[in-house]
Symmetry: C2
Subunit: 230 residues, 2 copies
Amino acid sequence: MLTETAIENGSSEHLFARTARQKRSVGSHALTASIELMGSPMLFPRNAEIYGEKEPADYLYKVVSGIVRTYRVLIDGRRQIGAFYLPGDLFGLEIGKEHTCSAEAVRDSKVLVIKRSSVVSHAAWDNEVGRQLWELAGRELERAQNHILLLVKTAPERVACFLLEMAERIQSSGELELPMSRQDIADYLGLTIETVSRMLARLEDASAIDVPSSKRIVLRNRTILKRMSA
Amino acid sequence: MLTETAIENGSSEHLFARTARQKRSVGSHALTASIELMGSPMLFPRNAEIYGEKEPADYLYKVVSGIVRTYRVLIDGRRQIGAFYLPGDLFGLEIGKEHTCSAEAVRDSKVLVIKRSSVVSHAAWDNEVGRQLWELAGRELERAQNHILLLVKTAPERVACFLLEMAERIQSSGELELPMSRQDIADYLGLTIETVSRMLARLEDASAIDVPSSKRIVLRNRTILKRMSA
DNA sequence: CGACCATTTGATATGGATCAAGCGATGTGG
DNA sequence: CCACATCGCTTGATCCATATCAAATGGTCG
């Protein structure tokens, strides 16, 4: 009734295999492709809210340009940033009816927005899309697990991890341009801005990095960074 | 081609809707039911490893009795417990090929084990199972997000949260019987055993709880606990 | 140039970790 | 059945990493 060989784009075994009779989508990015086609571009200025916690989660989003943060706040105002989303990243997928985090543009950002219901129905006739939704959820879970591990590390370790993570994701040529403020970094790492600043200074003293300007970071010695990151 | 009305067991809209032509499973717990039927029971003594990080994730597990912890360790030995699984809970589901955490029995435990591949093929012919896998992944993600938020709270807040969470899950009559050691609690909360102990003493002083013996906790005043929990 | 906001740097405070006993329960061998 | 070792937990004393408070500096935009 079903071929279980869903191994086509190198990424190994998948939970949602593809049936022979189901329509095969063109590329290996069926989900992404359909969002490109069917999504409406929206512009969000710096610090604008994209959605709020507890609001109905009727849309799925893809960052085109800029950067987005998701976060939750405790009653006394402490804010925890759960993730940063960079161009190409999908976000806003929820299991239940409502968003569990708020989302804001960190800087002026362009975002593609697509109705959840249309993705859902698309997933029903193209299992490839369903599988990619599954993988998306899986990546989110993995990210959250890594974040938990990050939050039990010491301050210098957290900052070193953060730089390595960002360098990997932003893929810059030698110099890393941080798109977010110190406050955002601090709220992501569970530290204060002063501590983040001091740890950067310490990393600079250890000649692991250079900080020519506050948002520009040169990773001078990744070996040291990696050693300090756990 | 597809009915998008997948609202049948009260739990609202779902990403994986059920097609009219697809076989409808009997109960609302198709996944759980198939694990009951097809899973093999295994006994794990206290502290036995169920699986290790990086091992191939070929099985899905369901706790029958006892309690299971998943965790990761940093190179220097710091251990972070990601979750506790109680009777009825499923665990061990991964997106990729390998486990991202290790799992151990906290106490002597009976666990049902089922081949991942058989769940996968089952999910392919019964969308209900696929949907429940999806919900399972979603609950894991939500749990991880809550854990992140927990880890930015103060020590007394973390302990209060922990007690409330456990009381809700263990569903005891007035008295809560903690099935895990102080070390486990500490590693779950990102604290030391001494701090956990002191925070319990402090909650007792505040007459939020009673601690007749080290593992027995009476929640005397949940209002205070809730107030202290964030 | 001047006001404002983000960041750094310095001085001090403090929450939780660490180090060190003490204590109570559990189990073992005599 | 008891003496004693062991283990998990609590309690106390001290230390230290990071927060907090307070300026000083720098960068940006009018």
